[in-house]
C-alpha cells in the first residue's frame, strides 16, 4: 500500500460528520399536495458519523442508491443536511450560508465521475481551469494563467501549450479527467471528494489516473474521500473504508482489516462479486438475491436482510419478504402457478411494510398447504425462523413476524459493523 498514516493515534480531524441525515421529500402529484398527503421521504443519508483525519484516504463504497454520492456531496455543502452537522475545523457546513460556503470551496473540491459532463464544451482547458480562480477573486489574467499552467503541469498535461487552447472534444477520456482534476486542485484545496473518478475511463488508463491522484496526495498533502462501487480500486487506494447500504454505514474500518476479515454479509457479497481474470482464483460463489430496495420504503429491521445470505430470525422479516418468497416459488419449474395463484390471490397489498401479513383467498387450509410446500422446497430459508405464528384469518392466513430494530454500528475487532451477527463487544463506544 502506498500511503498508510498511523490511524491509531488521536490526531485532530479535518472534517467531522456527526449524526448526519440528508432526507429528500418526495412530492406527489398536485392532488396529493392539495390534500396534504405525505408522499414519502427518501433517506439518502441516515445518521452517519465519520471523521476524516488530515492526509487520509477514506473510501465510501456501495451500490447505486446506497447514499455514498449524497454523503460525498454533503462534504461540499452541495446537499442540504436535514439533521446533524459537518464540521470543517470550526465551521458547520450544514448551516453555512451559500456565500460562506462558496468561500469554503477553495478548501474542499470535487472530482466528478463523467469528465464529458463535468466540462463545459464551449470552454477551453485554460478557461475551464482558470474559471475556478476567477470565481475565487483572482482578477489578474496573468496570475490566472500562471495558476492554470502550474495545475496542468501537476496533472501531467505537459507540454502545457499543447492543451491550453484545446476544447474538451479534442481530448481523450483520460486527458479530460486530468483537466477535471486540475480544476479541482488549482485552488490548493485540502480535501478532495472524488466521485467514481475512474469508472468512466478505459481499463488501460484507470491505473494511470489513480496513480496521478496518489502522487498529488503526496505532493500537495491532500485528504481524499474516494467514492466507488468497486472494492478492488478501493483496496488499492484507501486507508479506511466505509461500506454503505441504503443511507447507512454498515461497516467501517481500516482497509486491511475489512479485506482480511470482512464481517458484514454485504461486505462479503461485494467482495465476492468482483470478477477475477485469473482462472485459478475463481471460486463458486453465493450471491445475494435481488437488488438494492427502494430508499423511500426501506425494509424493516436491517435494510440488507431481504438479500442477506446469512440472515437469521432477528433481522426484521416482514410482509414484503413473504411476497418475494411466494413469487420466487413460482419461478421454479415444478411450481403449479396456474393452480396456486387463485388460492393465494393478489400479493400487491403486501407491499405496505408490516410485521404481519394476511394472504390467501381460497381457504385457510389450502393456503397453509401452499406455504408448507414452499417451506419444504427450501427449509433453510431464514424467513421462516422469523415467523412467530400463523393464524387463520377469513379465507386465508395471517403470518406474524418477529419485529426487530435496525442494527446499530458496534465495535467488532478492529472495525465497526452494523449487523445482528456481531453483538456489542464491550463498552468501547468511541466513534471513528
Amino acid at each position: 500500500m502506498p500511503t498508510k498514516p498511523d490511524t491509531s493515534s488521536e490526531t485532530s480531524s479535518l472534517v467531522e460528520v456527526r449524526d448526519l441525515s440528508v432526507h429528500f421529500e418526495l412530492r406527489g402529484g398536485t392532488l396529493a399536495r392539495l390534500f396534504g398527503r405525505d408522499s414519502g421521504t427518501i433517506k439518502a443519508v441516515d445518521g452517519v458519523n465519520l471523521a476524516l483525519r488530515p492526509g487520509e484516504v477514506v473510501g465510501l463504497v456501495g451500490e447505486s442508491g446506497s447514499g455514498k454520492s449524497t454523503l460525498g456531496r454533503a462534504f461540499l455543502g452541495l446537499v442540504p443536511a436535514t439533521h446533524g452537522s459537518i464540521h470543517l475545523r470550526d465551521q458547520d457546513l450544514a448551516t453555512l450560508s451559500r456565500r460562506k460556503l462558496r468561500k469554503l470551496r477553495s478548501v474542499v473540491q470535487m472530482v466528478f465521475q463523467d469528465p464529458n459532463a463535468a466540462l463545459n464544451p464551449s470552454m477551453t482547458v485554460e478557461e475551464a481551469v482558470g474559471d475556478a480562480l476567477r470565481v475565487h477573486g483572482m482578477k489578474s489574467a496573468r496570475d490566472r494563467r500562471a495558476g492554470v499552467v502550474e495545475a496542468l503541469e501537476r496533472v501531467g498535461l505537459s507540454p502545457v501549450e499543447l492543451f491550453l487552447s484545446k476544447y474538451p472534444r479534442d481530448l481523450s477520456g483520460g486527458q479530460k479527467q486530468r483537466v477535471v482534476i486540475a480544476r479541482a486542485i488549482v485552488l490548493n484545496p485540502e480535501l478532495l471528494v472524488a466521485d467514481e473518478p475512474v469508472s468512466m475511463l478505459d481499463m488501460s488508463v484507470r491505473a494511470k489516473i489513480l496513480q496521478l491522484m496518489l502522487d498529488l496526495k503526496t505532493d500537495l498533502g491532500l485528504t481524499y474521500v474516494y467514492i466507488t462501487h468497486d472494492l478492488a480500486t478501493a483496496k488499492y487506494f484507501c486507508d479506511r473504508i466505509a461500506i454503505m447500504y441504503l443511507g447507512r454505514i454498515v461497516e467501517i474500518g481500516p482497509t486491511e482489516e475489512i479485506f482480511a476479515h470482512p464481517r458484514h454479509p454485504y461486505t462479503k457479497a461485494l467482495l465476492a462479486a468482483i470478477p477475477d481474470a485469473d482462472p485459478d482464483r475463481m471460486v463458486p460463489r453465493d450471491l445475494p438475491r435481488g437488488e438494492i430496495p427502494d430508499a423511500a420504503d426501506p425494509p424493516l429491521g436491517c435494510a440488507f436482510h431481504p438479500r442477506c445470505p446469512e440472515a437469521i430470525a432477528a433481522c426484521g422479516w416482514e410482509s414484503r419478504d413473504l411476497r418475494a418468497l411466494v413469487e420466487e416459488h413460482w419461478t421454479r419449474a415444478d411450481a403449479a402457478y396456474d393452480e396456486e395463484r387463485p388460492v393465494i390471490g393478489d400479493l400487491e397489498h403486501l407491499d405496505a411494510p408490516s410485521t404481519s401479513a394476511t394472504i390467501g383467498t381460497g381457504g385457510s387450509a389450502a393456503v397453509r398447504a401452499i406455504l408448507d410446500r414452499i417451506k419444504d422446497e427450501d427449509t433453510s430459508e431464514p424467513l421462516w425462523s422469523g415467523v412467530t405464528s400463523i393464524e387463520d384469518s377469513g379465507s386465508g392466513v395471517t403470518v406474524h413476524f418477529e419485529p426487530a430494530p435496525p442494527p446499530a454500528l458496534r465495535r467488532s475487532g478492529g472495525v465497526e459493523v452494523a449487523c445482528v451477527l456481531y453483538p456489542d463487544e464491550g463498552t468501547d463506544h468511541s466513534r471513528s
Partner: protein, 354 residues
C-alpha cells in the same frame, strides 16, 4: 446458484461451428476517409459455446457485433464471409436477413431501458416478438413460452402484465435476455450486457449468461471490456486491438499464458483484488483512418522489434491452441535480418493518452 467449475468447454466436442466468420471487414465512411473499424477478423463459434470479445473502447468490438447482425448505420460497409449453418449471411437479401434476425440471430444490448417500449406491457413485448416469426401461435401458447423463459431468468409469472418501468435495472436486463432467447436463436450477440448495472446485479447477470449454454444451447458472442467477466462466463476469448483479433484461444490458456504483448498488458492493467502495483498501457489506440504500418500495436508495445514497424504480423497457430498475430511468436523464417533488434520507439506522453 453456484458456478459449475467442472463444466467442460464445449469446444472439445467435434461439432460443426454455428458461426464461421472469415476475413470480416467493416468500414465507416467519413470526410477524412474510411474508418476501418473491423479489418480482417476470422473466428468460429461452436454450438453452445461462449466467445468473449475484449479490448479497449474504439477497438471495433461493438462494430463487429453489429456487423454480424446486419445492424450497421447508413454509410457503413461490410465485407467478408460469415457462414451460419452453411449459408453466407452477408449475402442474404434484406428480407431473408430480417427473417433470420430474432429467430436465429439474437442481440442483447447494453441499456435495457432504452430498448423496451415504455408504453407496452411485458406480455405485449413477447407477443410482438413471437408473432413476427410464428404468426400462428395463440395468445396462450405465447404466454406459456414467455413464462418458461422468464422463469429461467428468475422473473415471477405475476409480473407478466407489468410495464417496463415497474422493474429494476437488473430485472430489465433479465427481460431483455428473455426476449432475445424466447425464439431460441442459435446465435446471440450480447454487447456489454452488464456495463450499466450495479456490481452485485452484474454478477447475477454473468451467472445467467454462464447458465445459457446449459439451458438453451445458444452460442454467445459476449462483447465486454471486463476481462474478469470473460474469465467467468466464456469458454474462449478473442482479444481485439485496432480492428483485428490479435489473439484468441481458450480463456484459461490465453489468460494464464498470454502470447501477445497486448493481451498481457491488458490483463496487467486490470485492477483486481490481487493488484499490488498499478500498471497501465502507455498511449492510445491508433486512428483507424490511418493505422500504423506493420503491427498496429507496435507504437505502444514494450517488446517491439524492428520487423514489427514494417511488416504485418502473420496469423499463426497459437502455442497451446488458438490463433495469435505477433512477430515474437514467429514465424522465424519471415523475419528479415536484424529484424529482431529492439525497435527505437518514440516516447509516449500524456498527449497520446487514451
Amino acid at each position: 446458484m453456484t458456478i459449475d467449475l467442472t463444466d467442460q468447454p464445449v469446444t472439445s466436442l467435434p461439432q460443426e461451428p454455428v458461426i464461421s466468420a472469415r476475413d470480416v471487414r467493416v468500414w465507416y465512411g467519413t470526410t477524412r476517409g474510411a474508418i476501418r473499424a473491423v479489418d480482417g477478423v476470422s473466428f468460429d463459434l461452436a454450438p453452445g459455446e461462449t466467445l468473449g470479445l475484449v479490448g479497449e473502447s474504439g477497438c471495433g468490438k461493438s462494430t463487429l457485433g453489429r456487423g454480424l447482425m446486419g445492424l450497421l448505420p447508413d454509410g457503413a460497409k461490410r465485407d467478408g464471409e460469415v457462414l451460419f449453418r452453411g449459408q453466407d449471411i452477408f449475402k442474404l437479401s434484406p428480407k431473408a436477413a430480417y427473417r433470420l434476425r430474432g429467430a436465429e440471430l439474437g442481440m442483447i444490448f447494453q441499456e435495457p431501458l432504452t430498448r423496451l417500449n415504455p408504453l407496452m406491457r411485458i406480455s405485449q413485448h413477447f407477443e410482438e416478438t413471437i408473432k413476427q416469426h410464428e404468426p400462428r401461435l395463440s395468445k396462450d401458447e405465447i404466454r406459456d413460452r414467455a413464462l418458461e423463459v422468464l422463469r429461467l431468468m428468475g422473473i415471477p409469472p405475476t409480473r407478466y402484465r407489468s410495464y417496463p418501468h415497474e422493474f429494476s435495472g437488473g430485472m430489465r436486463q433479465r427481460l431483455m435476455i428473455a426476449l432475445a432467447l424466447v425464439l431460441r436463436p442459435a446465435f446471440v450477440v450480447a454487447d456489454e450486457p452488464t456495463t450499466a448495472l450495479d456490481v452485485l446485479v452484474e454478477a447475477q447477470i454473468v451467472q445467467i449468461l454462464n447458465d445459457l449454454r446449459r439451458n438453451f444451447q445458444t452460442s454467445l458472442l459476449l462483447i465486454t471490456h471486463n476481462v474478469g467477466i470473460v474469465a467467468e462466463a466464456c469458454d474462449r476469448v478473442a482479444v481485439m486491438y485496432a480492428g483485428r483479433i490479435v489473439e484468441q484461444g481458450k480463456v484459461a490458456d490465453v489468460f494464464k499464458n498470454p502470447q501477445h504483448p497486448y493481451t498481457r498488458e491488458l490483463l496487467r492493467s486490470t485492477i483486481s483484488l490481487s493488484t499490488t502495483g498499478l500498471h497501465y498501457i502507455e498511449g492510445a489506440p491508433p486512428d483507424l483512418v490511418d493505422p500504423p504500418d506493420g503491427c498496429r500495436f507496435h507504437p505502444r508495445c514494450p517488446e517491439a522489434m524492428n520487423v514489427c514497424a514494417s511488416k504485418n504480423p502473420v496469423n499463426l497457430e497459437r502455442p497451446g491452441g488458438g490463433r495469435v498475430e505477433c512477430w515474437l511468436v514467429g514465424p522465424e523464417d519471415e523475419i528479415p535480418a536484424d529484424g529482431k533488434q529492439p525497435l527505437k520507439q518514440q516516447e509516449l506522453t500524456v498527449a497520446d493518452e487514451a
